[in-house]
Structures are given as C-alpha cells and as structure tokens.
C-alpha cells in the first residue's frame, strides 16, 4: 500500500506535465503482468465453458430431446448459464485486463501492489462460478443478462469495487500530461458500471420494486451493460490500437469528444426501447426511441474516426492479426448500432420485437464488436506483458477466420430466421382478412436456421480452442521461467513472421 499511496501523493493531477524517467513501457507492462495474466486466464477458461453451454443450448433448439432428462441442463437453465458465463466470465475478465493495461500504459503509471488485484480477481471469478452453479441448480433469476442468483451479486460488486478503484488509482497515479480519448471512455465505464449494477441488484433482487418498474430497471441495466460498459471499453480499445498498429493518428480526431459526450448522454436512455409496446408508460419508451436515434451522432463520429484511419493505412501494417480482429470489431460496432436504430422504430418493432432478429443484433454487438476487439487487443497485449511471442502463431489466423465465419454465420442465420419469424408471427401475410400463421408452422420454418446456429457454434468452438491453446501455452510457459525479463518485444506481426 505504501508505494501506491506515495505514488498518489506525488502525482500532479491530470493537467500537469511531469517527466517520467523510469516508468517506461517495460516496467509498466511488468507491473501489469500478474493481474492481466489472471484476468486473461480466467476469461479464456470461461469462454470455453460458455461456448460449450452455447453448443448445448443451440443443439436443444432443433433437437429438444437432447439431454432432455437432466433437469440441470434443461434449455432455460443452460441458456441462462451460457449468457452469465459469457458476459460476466469471458466479457468482464477480458474487459478488466484491457482496462488495467490500457490505463496503466496511457497514464504511464505502474500498477501498485498487483497482488491485491489478484485477490479481487479471484473473488470476482468465484462469484461467477457461484452464479453459474446457482443457475444450473435452479436459483437463477430468469432475467436476461442478469441471470445469476442474488447471492452472487454482493461478491461481484465487492470484487468490482476493488478492481475499479485500483484502475482509477492507477490513472490518478499517472505521470502523463495527456488524457487521450481512450481514457475518457475507460474512466467513464469504470464509474458507470457500479451504478447500474447496484441499482439493478437492489431494485430487482434485494428489494424488488413494484410491478413493471422492475422491467424498466432491467431494460436500463441490461442495455446499459452494452452502451455504458462493454461499448465504451471496446471503443476505447479501438481508439488506442488503431493508431498503434497502423502508426498513424486517428482521422478527424477532433470529433472524438463529441462522440463520447453524445454516447454518455443518450446511451443510458436507450434501455427503454426494450419495452416498446410493453406495460410501461409510453413516454419512457418514446424517450428511449428518441435516444436510440440520437445515438446516430456518436456512431457517425466513430465511423469517421475509425474507417478513414483504417483505409488509408499501408497494406503491410494491415496484415497484422490484431488489426484484423479490431477492424472487424469496428465495422460490427457501426453496423450493429445502425441495425439497432432501425429495429427500435415503433413500426419495425411491432413486427420484429421478440424475434431472432433481436438476437442477431445482440450477437453482432457482443461477439462481432466486443469479443473481436477483445481478442485483437489481447493478442497485442499478451506478448508484451509476458515478454514472449505466441508459441503457435499460425493459430492466430485460424482463430481470426473461424471467429469471423462463425459469428457471420450465426448473425446471418439468426437475422434470416428473425425476419421470417417476425413476418409470420406478427403480421397477416395473406392480407388483413386472412388467418394467422399457426405457431407450430412458424417453428417448422425456423428449424433450418436454428440448425445453422449449431453449425456456427461448432466453428466458434474451434476458434475458441485455438485461442485458449495459444494463450494457455503462453501463460504456462511464462510461469515455467518467471525470471525472463520482458524485453525484445515483438509485435504479433513480427512474431507471426517467424
């Protein structure tokens, strides 16, 4: 604690330039090694477990008898466990690793007492494990994206407070005079998440609010998880890695601040769009739809920041696999946001609400955007914090292609399924006087698309195995010889060339 507090007391705040003779990339990376490796190992493990759950749940959708007699693995529970593990296991651990490393690097601060972060990280992951087992045992909440039982909440919240505070202190201790846009996004996310999480835990699980106030809180939280937590972290990472990998500044950088503030102002309101046509006051829904449309501003800003930066770069630099992942993530972010804007219009929602089209949009955001950005970033970060290159560099390309194809197949299949489902379920295709399409006919029409989901998930299992093998091997090899100093860092591109 002593070294950290002395760092804080000697730091000069954000605006003052202080030369930093000793906090170079190497020592900062060394200080981040322990926590980053813990969070990455945990995220990789959860990713694999979550993908297995995804495979089971996807298979069950077209073969409902599969593992049908095991109560623990009934569809509703597996689906809940899948969502919880992928969100709070894979997503959050990866996000923690990104936030800590990026903040340390950008603020030019070493992470003090990393061993304490290790303890907090273990608590977080114990919370996720408890939550997952709780869902399988039948203690789940049946609320999308907060499926874990109430008893996991305080554990996660406590662990988060510690991790979040540590990240903020690292920023505070920084010696950099510049505050880059990435830091804005990360700091905001660090402050927003505990707010939405604690409100959701209290008003939904600890002391549930009356009636459909719960639905509003749930919409606010579950959408906030995207617009106020995963979104800003992924966006922050793209802002950092694009210039880094392409050796050129972000195009139209002066606009980035507008993008940040408009996302901050409107992002929280969009949650109400989950209740279009629902049993809540119409004005709340309308304000959500308006906010969803206003998100066009940050999306345009991100597009004119990212795309010209990517397109104008030298072809040689674009061959890097980290760049591949992050470029796909940037495109998916802009695409998914525009799709969401359309889906949230009342007329469109009356047909496509509750269908697989919503699932497709959500997968494009959580996987196509956030997970891809996280993969690309981790492939950049890991060789630097370990001082080693990946043992199987050829798997990087394999991972990229399988992830992209798996995600693309899943999103395309779900989008087509959702389109057909929405038309058949919520309209009268034969004209206003015709009879409704029987529900079981709709189910039969969906079966081929649901089958493509299993196919897509098999491809993703291969992708994630490649990720886990490479990352696991790297981490184990560095546990073997801990004395190796982080030096002679190679970029993944150079590593891949060897």
């Amino acid at each position: 604690m002593a070294s950290l507090s002395s760092q804080i007391s000697t730091s000069r705040g954000v605006g003052l330039p202080v030369a930093s003779p000793n906090a170079d990339g190497g020592s900062i990376d060394a200080s981040a090694r322990l926590p980053v490796l813990l969070f990455v190992s945990a995220s990789a493990g959860w990713l694999l477990i979550g993908t297995v759950f995804a495979l089971i749940s996807s298979f069950k959708l077209h073969a409902p008898g599969f593992l049908g007699d095991v109560e623990m693995l009934t569809f509703g529970r597996v689906k809940g466990a899948e969502s919880a593990v992928l969100t709070y296991g894979w997503g959050f651990n990866a996000a923690f690793a990104l936030v800590l490393w990026l903040l340390a690097r950008l603020s030019r601060a070493e992470i003090g007492k990393p061993i304490l972060l290790l303890v907090a990280g273990l608590f977080w992951n114990f919370g996720v494990l408890l939550g997952m087992l709780g869902i399988l045992a039948g203690h789940g909440t049946s609320l999308e994206w907060m499926e874990m039982p109430g008893y996991a909440g305080p554990l996660l919240f406590g662990a988060y407070l510690f991790i979040g505070t540590w990240a903020l202190l690292t920023f505070r201790a920084g010696r950099s005079s510049q505050v880059y846009i990435t830091q804005w996004y990360l700091l905001a996310a660090l402050l927003w998440f505990p707010w939405i999480f604690s409100i959701a835990q209290i008003m939904l699980l600890i002391d549930p609010a009356r009636g459909t106030i719960q639905s509003l809180v749930h919409g606010w939280y579950s959408h906030g998880l995207l617009t106020l937590w995963f979104g800003p972290i992924g966006i922050g990472a793209i802002y950092y890695f694009l210039p880094k990998l392409l050796s050129r500044p972000i195009s139209n950088y002066y606009l980035s601040g507008y993008g940040f503030w408009t996302l901050a102002i409107f992002g929280g309101w969009v949650g109400a769009t989950r209740l279009i046509g629902g049993p809540v006051p119409a004005w709340v829904v309308t304000s959500g739809i308006a906010a969803s449309f206003m998100l066009a501003v940050p999306i345009v800003v991100l597009a004119v920041n990212f795309f010209p930066t990517m397109i104008g770069s030298p072809a040689a630099l674009r061959r890097d696999w980290s760049f591949h992942f992050i470029a796909v993530g940037a495109v998916a972010l802009v695409g998914a946001s525009m799709v969401a804007m359309v889906l949230n219009l009342r007329g469109v929602a009356s047909v496509f609400q509750f269908t697989f089209l919503q699932t497709a949009q959500s997968n494009l955001t959580t996987y196509g955007f956030f997970s891809m950005v996280a993969f690309g970033s981790l492939y950049y970060i890991l060789p630097r914090v370990t001082g080693r290159s990946f043992p199987l560099p050829s798997l990087l390309g394999f991972h990229f292609w399988t992830s992209s194809i798996g995600c693309g197949l899943s999103v395309a299949g779900l989008a087509l399924a959702g389109y057909e489902q929405g038309i058949a379920m919520n309209t009268l295709p034969g004209g206003p006087e015709s009879a409704v399409v029987p529900f079981l006919d709709i189910v039969q029409r969906l079966l081929p698309y649901l089958f493509t989901q299993t196919l897509a998930t098999v491809v993703l299992v291969a992708a994630h195995l490649a990720f886990v093998v490479n990352v696991g091997w790297l981490i184990l090899s560095c546990a073997d010889r801990t004395s190796a100093a982080p030096s002679a860092l190679r970029t993944p591109l150079e590593a891949a060339a060897r």
């Binding site: 959708l61 007699d69 009934t74 569809f75 509703g76 905001a188 402050l191 919409g219 309101w269 809540v280």
Partner: protein
C-alpha cells in the same frame, strides 16, 4: 475546478439523467400504483393467485421458462397478439402489481403465456389440468413439431404400492408412454404448482386504463370488437 473534475462531473450527470428519467421518476409516480376496487363485484383487482400458483411461479422462474416465453400482450393493432388469441387487450402495468418478480420476457421462441390459463380453459380436460400435464410431460403430445423440451423430470415413475394414486397421469398418455406393469406416473409437487401457476395466468379484468386504446384505422373494426367484448 480543473478539467478532470469537470470531466467526472459530466460523466456523473450524464448517467444521472437517464437514472432519474427511467428509474426514479417512474418509481415515484406509477411505482405507487394501487389495486382497483370494483364496487359491483366487491373485489380488488388484480387478484392474488392462490398459494400453489405462487409456488409455481418460482418453478417457472427456476426452469428459465422466460428464456422462450414472454408474458406481455401488445395492444390490438400493434402486432397481431390479439388475433393470435394471446389476449383481448394489451397488458397494463397494473396487471403485474402483485408479482414479486416480473417476468415479462424478451423472446418469443414459444407463444406468449400471459393468458394461457384463459386460453386453455376449454380444452384442458375434466379437471382443467390434463392439457398442462400432458404438455409438460411431452409437448409433442399436445403440440406436434414443437421445439419445447419435455419436462419429464417433473414427474415420477414409481411402483404402485397398495391403491394406485388418484393423481397418476398414465391414463392421459398414449401406449408408447406407458410405464412397466405395476408402475404409475405421478406429477411431483413442483409439476402441480407449475400447472396451478399456468392455469392462473389470465388477465381478464378490464381496467380503466386498458379500455381506451389507440388503434390504427386499418384494424379498427376487428380490434374494436375484441376490446369491447372485454368490458366487465
């Protein structure tokens, strides 16, 4: 005030706005919603469902039924929920007033269940429970081609000791499902409470706020009939 405190203030205010608008204002306004006392019937609506139904709700929650089923009917003219027979009127906030955990759901992989109790009243068999029991035992019996999983684990196949149980359901099942001779299939307590919950899912009372609905011109006629037919 330096720039970093301004930044943190801005970040705080940004989220405070949506928190105030979506959570706080609604909690203070319609969070105080109360039941409606109907003088002619001498009852307050919505009515609490019986205790077994309350227990069944937690079975519904723990099995994750909400992953595929919504419990919210959209107004006539907004989608075709009314024409599908999922409910004559839209769900309103008051319907959910007495529910400890509101599970309105986000996916319709299966049909909406808000009024399943009213829907199956006619075809649920002698004691009103047969359809549910068969449906839960194996959805293929009642809905061929469905992708809903079977909930056989909510039933127990056991040896008949002494008198056969009056609750046994093998009489409702076709030949292929019959247990070994001298055995019977009995719903567990959880299955019974779940059935009780589902049977009680019906919003039949028309509240003042659920009567007047804006309906686009195209479907005014059809919707007008269904809403009108719902007056108490």
């Amino acid at each position: 005030m330096n720039r970093s405190s301004l930044f943190f203030l801005g970040v705080f205010v940004a989220l405070a706005a949506s928190w105030t608008g979506i959570v706080l204002v609604n909690q203070l306004s319609y969070g105080q919603l109360t039941t409606v006392v109907d003088a002619t019937e001498g009852l307050a609506f919505p009515q609490a469902i019986p205790g077994t139904g309350q227990q069944g709700r937690s079975v519904y929650r723990d099995l994750g039924c909400a992953a595929c089923h919504t419990q919210q009917v959209r107004r006539p003219g907004f989608g075709i929920d009314d024409k599908r027979g999922w409910g004559d009127r839209q769900s309103v906030a008051r319907d959910y007033l007495l529910e400890p955990h509101v599970l309105i759901g986000t996916h319709r992989i299966g049909p909406d269940l808000r009024n399943v109790g009213a829907r199956k009243d006619g075809l649920a068999g002698r004691d009103g429970r047969e359809w549910y029991l068969r449906h839960l035992y194996d959805p293929q019996l009642t809905s061929p081609g469905s992708i809903m999983p079977s909930y056989k684990f909510l039933f127990e196949t056991r040896k008949i000791v002494g008198q056969p149980s009056p609750k046994a359901i093998q009489g409702l099942l076709p030949a292929a499902y019959q247990p070994v001779r001298g055995h019977e299939i009995v719903p567990t307590a959880r299955a019974e409470t779940l059935v009780s919950y589902l049977m009680n899912l019906k919003d039949t009372y028309a509240y003042p706020e659920s009567r007047n609905v804006f309906v686009p011109k195209a479907s005014t006629e059809a919707a007008g009939q269904t809403v009108g037919g719902n007056q108490p």
